[in-house]
Each structure stands twice: as C-alpha cells, then as structure tokens.
C-alpha cells in the first residue's frame, strides 16, 4: 500500500467515524441506554449483592468497579455489530460500496467511533464509581494504562462484532446474540465475585477467560487490590496485562481480515 492509499483510507475512516458520532449526538437515547444499565449495575451490585459478598482486605465496591468497566466496554463494543447490520438494512452501505473509498474505511470508522463512544461511557461510569466510593490508588500513568487497556480490549471485541454484524440478517439479531453470549462471558469471570468459590471446571474457565484478565489488569493498574486477596495462581491472572494484550493481538489478527473480507462480500439483503 502506498502512503497515498493509507492516507486516503485513514481519511475515509475518519469521515465515516464522524458520521457515526453525529448519530450518537442526534439519538442520545443510545448513549443513555448504554450508560443507564451499567449505572444500574453499579448501584445494584454495590448496595444489594455487595452486602453479602466479601472480598478479603478490600471494599467490595473497589473490587466491583473495574469488573463493571470491563463488562460495560464489552457491551459498548456490540454497538459495532448492531450499527453495521443497521447500515446494511437501511441501504446506506450500498452507497458506501459504490464509492471509490477505501474498502476498510466503513469498518475502521465504525470501530473507531465505537471506541470514542466507550470513552464517554467509561467517563460517566467513573464518576458514578467515585460517587459510590471507588478510588484510584495508583499513579496517574498506571490509571491511564488501565483505562487504555480496557478500551483496547473493547476495540478488539468491536472487530468480532463487526464480523457478526456483517453476517447476520438484522440489527435485532446482533442484540439478541450478544446478549446470549456476552452475559455468560462477562459473568463467568472475576468481574463481580472472586472466582475461588466457583466449581472447579467453571473456575478454570473463568480464570482463563480474557474478561477476567482484563479485569484483573484494571484492578492492578487502578490499585484496587489487596495483599490479603492475591489473584489465583493461573498464569493468565498472574500476568494479566500480557495475557490480555495477547488476546487483543489475536482477535485483531483474525477478525480484521475476516471482517474486511465479509464486507467486500456482503450484498445488501
């Protein structure tokens, strides 16, 4: 690829991202819904379950918030799939596909705007977290790295969702499918409760679930850990940052080409 085409494909991606962001601005319900449920989660878990869940040496709320961040950004990434499926259904993809624009631009634009959406969501969540007693106990750079890792992980998930959005027949299917998959994925993990008490098989799955590693990494980077509650011995949770980054690299390496190929193919349905 020449620098000319790279430049054009980034520019096209930015134009498409801008268009997606305008939509968020025009339909604020989207943002309201994508932040309301995590805020509700924070309040429910903090005040209802939190009273019964005990994490040694740490307030449950500090334990909880990074987990909710992880769950929320992953759900945020599902917008990518629903958005693409919606674009196909509404026919605007036909316009894009008839233009001399970079083939990857629609996908790059989509995933980029969804990350930006997630930035906003995380910001709102952080304020809610702070309000219920969550604190960052690390340095500024570590905390920034924590947020960055969460967003990066969500970005990788966006590319899975992009592929899903291009193969399903309608946006509703994306929403239902992601509900079915992402709920178990984010619950069979250390997001809401320590995994120690899980039955053995479930515990193994949970500990190697990248959602657990990104949550563990965020906890460490925000300083929401306690010597009295060391992470499980599994390698994935002993080296959560590296393990998470490896997943990110793997997902991107697989799903970017898959999605771009599917985009070229996807005829309007």
């Amino acid at each position: 690829m020449s620098t000319m085409t790279i430049h054009k494909s980034l520019l096209d991606g930015a134009i498409v991202a801008k268009r997606n962001l305008i939509k968020i601005k025009r339909v604020p319900d989207l943002l309201v819904f994508s932040t309301m449920s995590p805020i509700m989660f924070i309040l429910l878990f903090a005040y209802v379950f939190g009273s019964a869940i005990n994490v040694p040496g740490l307030s449950y709320r500090e334990f909880l918030i990074p987990g909710i961040f992880a769950q929320t950004v992953i759900f945020g990434a599902t917008i990518t799939g629903a958005g693409l499926a919606d674009d196909i259904q509404k026919g605007i993809i036909d316009r894009f596909r008839s233009l001399p624009m970079a083939r990857s631009a629609v996908l790059v634009g989509r995933t980029t705007s969804d990350v930006l959406n997630n930035v906003l969501v995380i910001f709102i969540m952080s304020l809610t977290g702070l309000a219920v007693g969550w604190r960052i106990r690390s340095s500024f750079f570590e905390a920034a790295a924590g947020f960055l890792l969460l967003l990066l992980f969500a970005y990788a998930i966006s590319w899975i969702m992009a592929w899903v959005g291009l193969i399903v027949p309608s946006p509703e299917v994306v929403n239902n499918a992601s509900f079915m998959i992402i709920f178990p994925l984010t619950f069979i993990a250390n997001t809401f409760v320590p995994t120690n008490g899980f039955p053995p098989v479930l515990r193994a799955i949970a500990n190697w679930n990248p959602v657990s590693s990104v949550t563990q990494a965020a906890r460490q980077l925000f300083g929401n850990t306690s010597a009295k509650y060391p992470p499980p011995k599994d390698w994935s949770l002993q080296h959560p940052v590296i393990y998470t980054l490896a997943w990110v690299a793997l997902l991107l390496a697989v799903f970017i080409p898959l999605s771009v190929r599917q985009y070229k193919r996807a005829a309007s349905r």
Partner: protein, 342 residues
C-alpha cells in the same frame, strides 16, 4: 465512439432462481439506455453487477473501460449510482449526506461543501438542507439519493428507477436534470417501469424479462414491431355498429375489430389524420351518431404488453386515481397516446 458500458452474457443465480440469464447490453458514450421490464425481470440485479455491488456468476462486463470483476475500484471512480431504494443516512441532514459523499469521492472540504449546496439547490432541497433525512418524505429522499449519485460529476451513471415515487413535477424536474447530464456528455443506464420515461429520455431501449432480452431498439423500432396506427370509433347505438364497421372496413388496412358491448370499432389504418377525417365524414353522411373517435399510435405500453404478455406493473398511487380506463394495470404516468379528435 466506443461503448462506455458493455456487458456480455451476464448470468446471476439466487439459489435455483436465475435472475439474469445471459444478458447482453451496450451503451455508447454520451447516450442513454433504458432497461425496461416487469417486476423481477432482473433490472436491479443487472445494475448492481455493473455498479460493482454484486458479482455475476457468468459473463463479463466493462464500465468506462474497466472490468467490473477485476478492477472494481477503477470502475467506482467513474460511476455514480442511485439504487432502487434510497441509500441515504437518516440521522444526517441532507447537506451532511451530500458533503460526506463528496469527501468520500475525494473532493476537498471546500469543494464538497460547494457541491452539496449546488445539488441541494438543483433538486429543490435547499429549504430542507439542514433537517435530518428522517424528516424527509419519500420523494425528498429519492431526490437526495439522486443528488448523491451526481456529487462527483461521474461520466457514467446508473439510475435504478430514478423517478419511482416522485410526484409529476419532481419527475419532470428529474427528466430535465437527466437531459442536461447527457448533454454535458454523461453516459447513462436507467431502469424504469414508466414507458413514457424511456420514450422521452432513452436513445435505446432494452426490454428484458426473466433475465433475458426480449426486445431491443429505439422507441420507434419497438412501436413498429407491435403495429401501426389505428382509428377507434365508438358509436351511440348498437344498431349502428354493423353499418359503422362496413364504412371503416372500406378505409382500413386490415381487419376491423368490434367490441360489441362498448360499441367500439377499431380499424388499422395507413394515412393518419386524413383517413380519420374521411371516416368521420362518411359516418356523418350515414347519420351514425359518434360518441368518441381517436387516432391511436402504439404506445410503449402496447409494446410492453405485447412483448411480455403483461402490462408494466407498478403504478404510482397518485396516477392510479387519474386513470379511469380499465386496461388492467397501466404504468405510464400520463396519457401520451396521440388523440386526434375528441
């Protein structure tokens, strides 16, 4: 001048259904080809293949000198497409839609803004420019979509049923725009259900059904295929039908057809208005009361009906009311047969 659009033996299957079955077409530079056909004939499929949105299962096609299958990127640099269903973004305003398309075509910031304003003006959307497309009517969306196809002033245009859903005034405007584009040198392929449209705009008409060509030629060629002019007379009383038939048979160039219940006699003629006058004179001399008389030339409607065995099907709702004549479904938006006398 060479063919700017050329397709040979295009085949497209959807499962067991053969949507295109060896379609050939050619559009020389600066001309207009109208592709005509009933619902499901394969018009949209053909357009989508030519516009690189769909891959064919057989045959080949070239647009602006580039192969659609192997050089789709090059093809896209030279085409503008307005598909059958408006491809516009509901959450953007009309202006933002066109501006975005301009930028994606690679026009600079300022140029694409200018162009968006020009087109909004041209398609009388200036008042709605800053409203989101969600609030647009169907016809406004349609016009915005067409404007989208013209943003980069591409030399080759594909318009899939460009005037479906437009009111008569917008339709006439659209025709003007199309005529201007062709004058300026654009090459155009349009599909339509409106025979009047093909008659007015096209240099060449291709009638297809079941993915295959069933007729091809200029509007006049096609009309000639279905036959020449005829005189139609409706007499006032059943008793006069036989006498009137005798008179018309003397002037006719073939067998007369009588519809007893409507008291209508149709006679194929040669000689146009002169024959009509003579018929009237003789009928009058016999004291036969004439309720209606007309000289009819075949319309593309007749062509369509004769060639495909069914009338063009889709009819804009607004026109449906205006036409009381029972001739099954008809599609021409306005009456355009020539009527010599009433």
């Amino acid at each position: 001048m060479g063919d700017v659009i050329r397709a040979t033996g295009l085949v497209k299957n959807y499962g067991n259904l053969r949507a295109l079955d060896g379609l050939d077409l050619a559009v020389p530079e600066g001309t207009v080809l109208a592709v005509l056909g009933p619902n499901g004939a394969g018009k949209t499929t053909a357009v989508r293949i030519l516009a690189t949105l769909l891959q064919s299962d057989g045959g080949s096609a070239e647009v602006a000198g580039f192969d659609v299958a192997s050089q789709p990127g090059k093809v896209r640099e030279h085409i503008g497409l307005s598909g059958q269903y408006a491809a516009v973004d509901e959450y953007l305003t009309g202006f933002e839609n066109l501006d975005m398309v301009g930028r994606l075509y690679g026009l600079g910031k300022r140029r694409s803004r200018e162009r968006a304003h020009e087109l909004l003006e041209r398609f009388t959307l200036t008042d709605a420019a800053d409203r989101t497309v969600k609030t647009y009517s169907g016809g406004m969306r349609r016009r915005l979509d067409l404007a989208g196809a013209l943003v980069a002033q591409p030399p080759v245009l594909f318009l899939d049923e460009p005037t479906t859903g437009l009111d008569p005034r917008s339709r006439t405007d659209m025709w003007e725009v199309i005529v201007e584009l062709v004058k300026a040198g654009s090459t155009l392929l349009l599909t339509t259900q409106y025979l009047e449209e093909a008659d007015r705009l096209a240099d060449d008409i291709l009638v297809i059904d079941h993915g295959r060509e069933i007729a091809h030629g200029t509007a006049d060629d096609l009309k000639a295929q279905v036959g020449g002019e005829r005189v139609e007379v409706v007499v006032g009383s059943n008793a006069d039908v036989a006498a009137a038939k005798t008179i018309l048979s003397e002037l006719a160039d073939g067998a007369c057809v009588v519809e007893e219940h409507t008291r209508r006699i149709t006679a194929p003629v040669k000689g146009g208005a002169g024959v009509l006058m003579e018929a009237l004179r003789r009928l009058d001399a016999e004291g036969i009361e004439v309720l209606d008389v007309a000289l009819r030339r075949p319309t593309l409607d007749d062509v369509f009906l004769t060639l495909t065995g069914h009338a063009a099907e889709v009819e804009p709702a607004a026109d449906a009311k205006a036409k009381g004549k029972g001739k099954g479904t008809k599609s021409a938006p306005a009456e355009f047969e020539e009527t010599a006398a009433r």
